[in-house]
Structures are given as C-alpha cells and as structure tokens.
C-alpha cells in the first residue's frame, strides 16, 4: 500500500499557513512527499479566504480585543475560526494525478476523509459541494484548495468543540448569505462533534479518527515522519508574508 507522510503539530496562524504553502511548493517540485498534516492553531485564530475583504469577513475590533490573530490564506473560500481547544485543521499536499481532475470531484474525494472520520466518531456526515461537510444539515467542516503547477494543497477545518459564541462574534457573515439560507442564527448553521454527540470529545480522539478516515478515503497508509530542513527553511521565508499587513489587508 502507498505510504504518505503524517505530520501532527501545532503553531500560530502565520506559521501554519506558511508551512502549508511550503509543503505545496516543495511537493509540486517533487522535493516533498505526499503529506497529510493535522494541526492546531495556537493561539486560536481566524483565517480568511484569498479573495475576501478582511474588514467584511472579520470583526477586527473584536479580534484585536480578544487577542485573535487574523491571517489571509493562499486558498480561496470563506473565513474560519480555528479554536485552539475545539478545532483540528487538516492539510493535504499532493499532486494532481492523485486526485480527480474536476475541481468539485477533487473536493469530494479528499473530503471523504472527513466523512469517514466523522463516521469513526459515530456521526453520519455528508459532503455538500463545493467544499462543505455537514451533519444533520449543519456545517461541521469547510475546505479550501489551491493548485499550482502539478501541486495540490487542500486544507480544511473540523470543529469538534469550537466555542460557537466566539465564532459568531468574530466572523462576519454577509446578510445576503443568511437571507439566502433563510436562517439567522449561527447555531442553526454550524455545529461541532461534541455538540452532535452530546459529550465532550478530546483532541486525541479526533486526530485518531482523522488519521483513519483519510487512510480509508485516500487508500494509503499514513506514516509519521519529520519535516525536512528544506521545508522548515521555506516555511521560515514564507511566514514573513503571512505576518505582513500588506498581505493580510490586500483586500
């Protein structure tokens, strides 16, 4: 069976985004292996999509007051609150030949890892195009993908115990979006594994479930391995971009 590297770790928002981009760049050049990375944002942070206007996606005043860093991703999509104590982010760095060519199908393929992980935890989940996974109609995970050359990066969130009150305060959802869904409360639109199961699940349980889920979805064996010197070096270069006001406030 094919083996992919498994990385498990934590870091601040800037580092996490820099490392994901470094993995994509080096994977596309054939200098990094196919990788699944499972990580935590420490401290809790917000990431926004490449095309979002930072002031419209995030309540910046609240984020500042609460000490929540906000960083723009290299990937599109919407804003995400990454709760240090309630959310695991996954990222996959691979090549285009390992995923379906069609964009939505490639999301579906990779998101199957999340669906299987949730099944492992005892929940029935469903992929909803383009990039969501829902449980009983409520979003529990969102993903974002970037392709560069032959490289593919897909990262996404799985909420297992996210503080939805903070999420609701820090993320700004356009009125148009709420209106189109006919729902006004964030509690009705998003959920967590703990809420759905009626018990507090641990980070370790979720990491284990994600590992199994992605092994099954991708048909690979995940083998823990270290970061290479080259990866660390490139991530250290890229982190400056993610820390810069120029990048984060470009829209």
């Amino acid at each position: 069976m094919e083996e992919w590297r498994l990385l498990v770790g934590e870091g601040d928002a800037y580092w996490n985004m820099a490392l994901d981009e470094a993995l994509l760049e080096l994977r596309r050049e054939g200098r990094s292996p196919d990788t699944l990375r499972l990580y935590v944002f420490k401290p809790s942070a917000v990431t926004i999509g490449y095309f979002q206007k930072i002031g419209e996606a995030v309540d910046l005043e609240y984020a500042e007051r609460a000490g929540i860093p906000v960083v723009r991703r290299a990937t599109g999509g919407g804003s995400v609150y990454h709760d240090e104590r309630g959310e695991i982010t996954y990222s996959i760095a691979t090549t285009v030949d390992k995923v379906p060519r069609a964009i939505v199908e490639s999301y579906r393929h990779i998101c199957r890892g999340l669906v299987y992980a949730l099944e492992e935890l005892g929940l029935e989940a469903e992929f909803v195009p383009v990039n969501d996974v829902v449980v009983r109609g409520r979003k529990i995970s969102g993903s974002a993908q970037l392709r560069r050359g032959r490289g593919v990066l897909q990262h996404g969130t799985l909420m297992y115990a996210t503080d939805l009150e903070i999420l609701a305060r820090v993320l700004r959802v356009p009125r148009e979006k709420l209106a189109a869904r006919g729902i006004s409360s964030i509690y009705e639109r998003v959920t967590t594994v703990s809420r759905e199961l009626g018990r507090r699940v641990t980070r370790e349980e979720v990491v284990e479930a994600l590992k199994k889920g992605f092994e099954r979805a991708l048909g690979v064996r995940l083998v823990p391995g270290p970061l290479t010197g080259e990866e660390l070096e490139l991530a250290r270069e890229l982190v400056e971009k993610y820390r810069s006001r120029e990048w984060n406030f470009r829209r």
């Binding site: 999509g49 095309f51 979002q52 990039n131 189109a180």
Partner: protein
C-alpha cells in the same frame, strides 16, 4: 463614481464587485468574496484587464470572455460575475 453590488449564489458563495467610473472609464475594479478561482492570480489579472476600459457592457463582456479559458471559478460562475458587473454599469 463608486458603485458596488453583491451576488449570493443560492447554495453557493458570495461575490462582490466594486467599481470606480470616471469619465466613462473603469478606473478601479475590485472583486471579492468567499469563492475559489483557479489559478487565483487569474482573477487579479482580470481585475487589471478591466481597469482602463470604457464602462460599457460590450467592453466588459469582451474582457470577461477573454478570461473564459484562463480562469476556472468554483462557488460562483463567470456568468454570475458578468451579470454582477453589467448590473453596475
């Protein structure tokens, strides 16, 4: 003159366009939202290509059409973007 509009795609994403028209010319164009573009840079090139053209439907359509093979959008379509931009003219 500043004009802006938002399109919410049912079951999909949101796209916002802001334009600045001066003397019949598109001076500024900003497209934002929670959609995906492959490659992302192509959307920025589209914004650049729209700047400086006459603020007329035919001109905007011509530029958008020239990007049909250069960018693939997900969450919103090129048609949505076209309708949105044309609605601002």
């Amino acid at each position: 003159m500043h004009r802006e509009g938002i399109r919410k795609i049912p079951g999909g994403k949101t796209v916002k366009a802001e334009i600045e028209v001066e003397g019949g010319i598109l001076k500024e164009v900003l497209i934002s939202g929670d959609f995906f573009a492959y490659p992302p840079e192509a959307l920025e090139e589209l914004e650049e290509s729209l700047k400086g053209i006459r603020a007329e439907p035919r001109e905007v359509e011509r530029v958008l059409e020239s990007f049909r093979d250069r960018v693939e959008l997900a969450g919103v379509g090129l048609e949505d973007l076209k309708e949105l931009l044309l609605s601002l003219l």
